[in-house]
């Protein structure tokens, strides 16, 4: 293949490569997860019956297990699930008593809004703080920003959430303490503004996961640029360090920053599970927790598949973004 063709086809090659990876990755991940769920020391019927043990006798328990198809051996159930999946049927959630695909469709929007907002918030904040720190290298803003990055990366998400709630919701009363909409109103009655105000605290909580890595990465890249001969040359002509960092350093730092950030999409998903639980956010994270405690295998597998595709796409986008930002990568394997 001559150089010209390779250059044009880098995207097609990358996509093909990833498609092949996906084809062996998905069944492997599903089989692994199904094994884990089957081995988990949670009896789904007991989790469903809960405190009503005295009202639900052994005969009725057998009827529940029968209705859920739990009586077949695990490999047979997995095979059944796989064959249904091939026909586009994700099965029925036992905790929610609804088709898994409906549940995911219903809840994915809320999760995507949360994760998407957090993604761009973290990118904007982390990247610009990183550049600022590089421009102010060694001075107090740099030390402050680096300090912030270290503190954020060491802070547990739930702690940050509680801090945010107690300051901005309970203390100052500026932002709502929970939920995706104001209590007492239907979806139709809720204004866009109210939805956005409800998004702020959860999104900030989720974004915290990604910010510190971004700050430190962008800073290191920009510092490397600022020390390069090109930057020294421009500085000698009177360009300020701030202008150098934000105008020219940004181009150098953006590619790696995007790569780091997109590759961390999995962490954002993890963070959203926590934030959704604390803020009563009706997304997939909340359903994941419920599915895990109820040993709801169909729902758990469905969500895992959706998450896997999401993270996979995040990583793919990271690779594409890196190649767009740095043409040198397109030719390398």
């Amino acid at each position: 293949m001559d150089l010209q063709l390779m250059r044009r086809n880098w995207l097609a090659r990358l996509l093909l490569e990833r498609l092949i990876r996906l084809i062996w990755l998905v069944p492997l991940a599903m089989a692994g997860l199904f094994t884990l769920v089957s081995l988990a020391p949670v009896d789904p019927v007991q989790a469903y019956v809960g405190a009503r043990v005295a009202q639900v006798g052994p005969e009725q328990r057998a009827a529940i297990a029968e209705a859920w198809g739990l009586n077949a051996p695990a490999p047979e159930r997995f095979w059944l699930w796989l064959s249904h999946l091939a026909a586009g049927d994700f099965g029925t959630s036992i905790t929610y008593n609804a088709p898994v695909l409906d549940l995911i469709a219903q809840r994915a929007g809320a999760s995507l809004a949360l994760i998407g907002t957090a993604f761009f918030l973290a990118l904007a904040l982390g990247f610009s703080l990183g550049l600022l720190a590089a421009a102010m290298r060694g001075r107090w803003p740099d030390r402050l920003i680096r300090g912030l990055a270290v503190v954020l990366s060491a802070s547990p998400g739930f702690w940050i959430a509680i801090l945010l709630i107690s300051v901005f919701a309970v203390g100052l009363g500026w932002l709502p303490a929970c939920c995706a909409t104001p209590p007492g109103l239907t979806a139709a009655e809720t204004s866009l503004g109210a939805r956005l105000t409800h998004l702020i605290l959860p999104a900030v909580t989720v974004s915290v996961v990604g910010i510190s890595a971004l700050i430190l990465h962008s800073r290191a890249r920009a510092v490397a640029f600022l020390e390069s001969p090109a930057a020294r040359h421009l500085a000698a002509h009177g360009a300020s360090r701030l202008r150098l960092a934000f105008r020219y350093g940004a181009r150098h730092a953006l590619g790696p920053a995007l790569t780091v950030h997109l590759a961390g999409a999995g962490e954002l998903v993890g963070g959203s599970v926590l934030a959704e639980t604390i803020f009563a956010w009706p997304g997939l994270g909340q359903a994941t927790v419920r599915a895990a405690t109820g040993a709801d295998a169909p729902l758990l597998l469905g969500i895992a598949l959706a998450t896997l595709l999401f993270v996979f796409c995040g990583n793919l986008l990271a690779d594409i973004a890196a190649r767009l930002a740095d043409p040198r990568l397109r030719e390398m394997r």
């Binding site: 020391p41 009896d43 007991q46 469903y48 019956v49 405190a51 009503r52 043990v53 005295a54 009202q55 639900v56 006798g57 052994p58 005969e59 009725q60 328990r61 009827a63 529940i64 029968e66 209705a67 859920w68 905790t95 929610y96 008593n97 609804a98 809840r107 509680i162 709630i165 919701a169 309970v170 009363g173 500026w174 932002l175 709502p176 303490a177 929970c178 939920c179 995706a180 909409t181 104001p182 209590p183 007492g184 109103l185 239907t186 979806a187 009655e189 503004g193 109210a194 956005l196 105000t197 702020i200 639980t277 604390i278 803020f279 009563a280 956010w281 009706p282 997304g283 909340q286 419920r290």
Partner: protein
Amino acid sequence: MSLKTLKGLVPAALLALALAPPLQAGPVPPLVLAVGGEPEGGFDPVLGWGRYGNPLFQATLLRFNTDLSLVGDLATSWSLSDDRRTWTIKLRQDAKFSDGTALTAEDVAFTFNTARDAGGLVDMKILREARVVAPDTVELELTRPQITFTSHLVGLGIVPKARYGADYARHPVGAGPFRMVEWRPGEQLVVEPNPYWHGGTIPFPRVSFVFGAEAAAIALAQTGAVQVAAVPPAGSDAPPAGMRTLHVQSVDNRGVMFPMVAAGGKTAEGKPIGNDVTADPAIRRALNQLLDRKALVDLALEGHGRPAHGPADGLPWDQPAAALPDADPIAAAVTLEAAGWIDRDGDGLREKDGREARFTLVYPASDSLRQALALGVAEQAKAVGIAIEPAGKSWDDIDNVMHADAVLFGWGAHDPSEIFALHHGDFAGVAYYNPGYYKNPAVDAHLDAAQAAPDFKAALPDWQAAQWDGRTGFGARGDAAWAWLVNIDHNYWVSDCLDLGPLQIEPHGHGYPITQGLQGWTWTCN
């Protein structure tokens, strides 16, 4: 516009959005409750919705009054045949579903027959058939006498035969006090009064249930967004401005289950049965006399609870005479000495026939309340020379050891079938019912007599006799099959403007049971 003005505007705009005027119709505001209780599977009574508290959308045949006596709701009269196997229920004629169609005997029979066959949380295997015998009369035929079937008359909301289908759980239609406006799963349920309800008018134009973690409920209450919030005991006594704390009594109880037979047996699956120490009635009785339950309430519940002496304290089928005076180490020591448990070697631990008074008390490791109780019990038992070793385990492990070790269980339902399941010899070793293999023919006879009673009220003396009939019983005065410890108070913050009327003793499950009398709540401010 300068940057400074812009900066000032942002929080102001956010504030304005957050405080957008709430929906207001007349002087009574819409209610918002944060008491949990979301049924993930939806609002289908046939699958178990409404068994712990108000079914909201559906009406039931009977209801429990605040004092747990039975009153009719859809039923105008109800009677049990002489062979105690057939209920005949006459229905009111003015009941309508929230879509305006009439509720008929067909709907009732359909609901009962569907619930019998469904693989949900309604165990109605004992129902042979429900049938319509007249336009206003339904017969429910059982396979054998069982007075606790009454709980289905109270608990099972009636669904419309014509509207019942796969999406019913998400779009319920019933003849109850409310109808659904919107349900956003995991988030919020919004309901409004059902204009066709036969029970009167409800003053609130709308009631919303906010779901989510306890912490979210607390934060909402602190920002004044909800009128009722279920809160944990810690910090419950510091309600936010405009709210008061309500500690509601419950039979949400915790107690120690004792293995009742000598060690050596094995279940069909090979799990060990029996414990030579707890099989001695003197040990069990002495612990019941010794335990300072008030101290346990203070220790584990910050004082928000009641000492528990039986599985149904304060309910109509409770027998207070079955309890022994507690917090009495001298009486406990006398009991132990009389039975031959004596500390001969002076190590602080009693022995009998060369066996030390030592046993393991298992609790679910994930439950901090039960851990605190187990440690408290162990500490108190030292005082009379009994060594109790608390051990936290997973439910899976508890399953394996619960026939041979004492276990800290929790129960509490508005249903005497619990008493039956926990103590009847036929249930020995069945699921979690009677893990200690307790069997006393006299107690079984009382329990069977209760099940064969001509009506719910007539069964009460038999339930009580099973606990203590003057000679024997499963209560502490008799066989002391359990050492009950505490009943947990359920704590709520309630708006100062809201009158909840009389409250019942709540069952197991903190939060949603407070809505039992929701249709009778009133707003006292203007």
